[in-house]
């Protein structure tokens, strides 16, 4: 950097620093308004002293510890009794036990469905089906054993 320029930059920096310092000093040294302390005191007097979460009423403080003990027992009784009351009324939901799924061999499964619809029954024949003429012509061949039995004589004849 050119030395003259650098000197100019430094002088600018110095002059602006003086400006900034002067302004900030003026602001930092402004006098507080009159009566500030009194107003703060008044505000503090109005503020409730809520520093503690739990505090005994004043007339209980100097009494014997029996009162505190009784109060503590009462609070504990109410809390425990209330909790038990809620617990005894609210029961866990009943769980429906599902029958074990048995897979039948060769059949269709119901895929674990809770309920399966009843299917329509098939047609029922009231009268026996009459033999068709074609069926009448069919010669029913007797069984071979019966044929053999027919050639044989009955046992009673043989005994004679």
């Amino acid at each position: 950097m050119n030395p003259e320029k650098a000197r100019g930059h430094q002088s600018d920096f110095a002059s602006t620093s003086v400006d900034v310092d002067a302004t900030l000093r003026v602001i930092a040294n402004l006098p507080a308004p009159e009566g500030l302390e009194e107003r703060v005191h008044a505000a503090l007097r109005k503020t409730p002293r809520m520093a503690r979460v739990l505090e005994w009423p004043v007339h209980f403080r100097s009494e014997s510890p029996w009162i505190r003990t009784a109060a503590a027992a009462t609070i504990a009784f109410i809390v425990v009794g209330g909790g038990w009351g809620v617990y005894s009324r609210v029961q866990p939901a009943k769980v429906v036990a599902m029958p074990p799924h048995i897979m039948q061999q060769g059949g269709f499964s119901n895929a674990g469905a809770a309920r399966t619809p009843q299917t329509v029954n098939g047609p029922v024949l009231n009268h026996p089906v009459a033999q068709t003429p074609a069926a009448a012509h069919v010669v029913q061949m007797p069984a071979k054993r019966e044929q053999r039995g027919a050639t044989k004589k009955p046992d009673s004849v043989q005994a004679k």
């Binding site: 600018d12 920096f13 602006t16 620093s17 400006d19 900034v20 310092d21 302004t23 900030l24 000093r25 003026v26 602001i27 930092a28 040294n29 402004l30 006098p31 507080a32 308004p33 500030l36 302390e37 107003r39 703060v40 005191h41 505000a43 503090l44 503020t47 002293r49 809520m50 520093a51 503690r52 505090e55 005994w56 403080r61 510890p65 029996w66 505190r68 003990t69 109060a71 503590a72 027992a73």
Partner: protein, 197 residues
């Protein structure tokens, strides 16, 4: 005393400070009153340097002491009460400044004209001075927050760099480096605004 009674009594036993603490409360209130008398004006100036409004600064001071009142049990644990109080009010005013909308420059000038000490200046001269200060403060507002905070606190002669570091929760070397950066940036901003005029 039966066992159960002993248990309940022990359970419900309050510390001495909570039950029979009338003298202690009185002492705490006196200590708080002494803090108000000693540091209210310092806190006001710190608050005004950020908020630049007399009423807002006074509100911030009151809020700071109300917070102290709520935590008065811990007053004995505080080592440097001045720095501790400045830290409380500093956090309050930064929070308020963040929430508040930016005021127009004319408001700042009129407020500064009102609060600036006369010092043998005519009303015109005071108005000019207020305008110049407002312009500088507007440039300060353009700085990054970290640099701006250090620069503003450095103007308080009663605060050392160690105390500024304690208020801001940073190291002393950070205070110095931020202050250096802030001054450089301010020089650039003011020169730029001068060249525009």
């Amino acid at each position: 005393m039966s066992a159960s009674q002993a248990v309940f009594a022990g359970w419900m036993e309050f510390p001495k400070s909570a039950v029979d603490d009338e003298p202690r409360q009185h002492a705490e209130e006196q200590a708080l009153a002494a803090l108000v008398d000693e540091y209210a004006s310092t806190l006001y100036r710190v608050a005004f340097s950020v908020l630049r409004n007399a009423a807002d600064a006074e509100d911030a001071v009151q809020e700071a002491f109300v917070r102290v009142l709520r935590h008065r049990d811990r007053l004995d644990e505080v080592r440097d009460r001045r720095v501790w109080l400045i830290r409380i009010v500093w956090n309050i005013v930064l929070d308020r400044k963040r929430r508040a909308k930016t005021r127009p420059e004319t408001d700042d000038v009129s407020e500064l004209t009102r609060v600036l000490p006369a010092g043998g200046l005519s009303s015109d001269e005071r108005a000019m001075a207020a305008q110049m200060h407002t312009h500088v403060l507007r440039c300060v507002d353009q700085l990054p927050p970290k640099e701006r905070e250090v620069l503003m606190l450095s103007a308080f002669e009663e605060l050392t760099s160690v105390e500024i570091a304690s208020v801001l929760g940073i190291t002393e070397s950070s205070v110095r480096s931020r202050l250096f950066r802030a001054r450089n940036l301010m020089a650039g901003l003011l020169n730029h605004s001068r060249s525009l005029r």
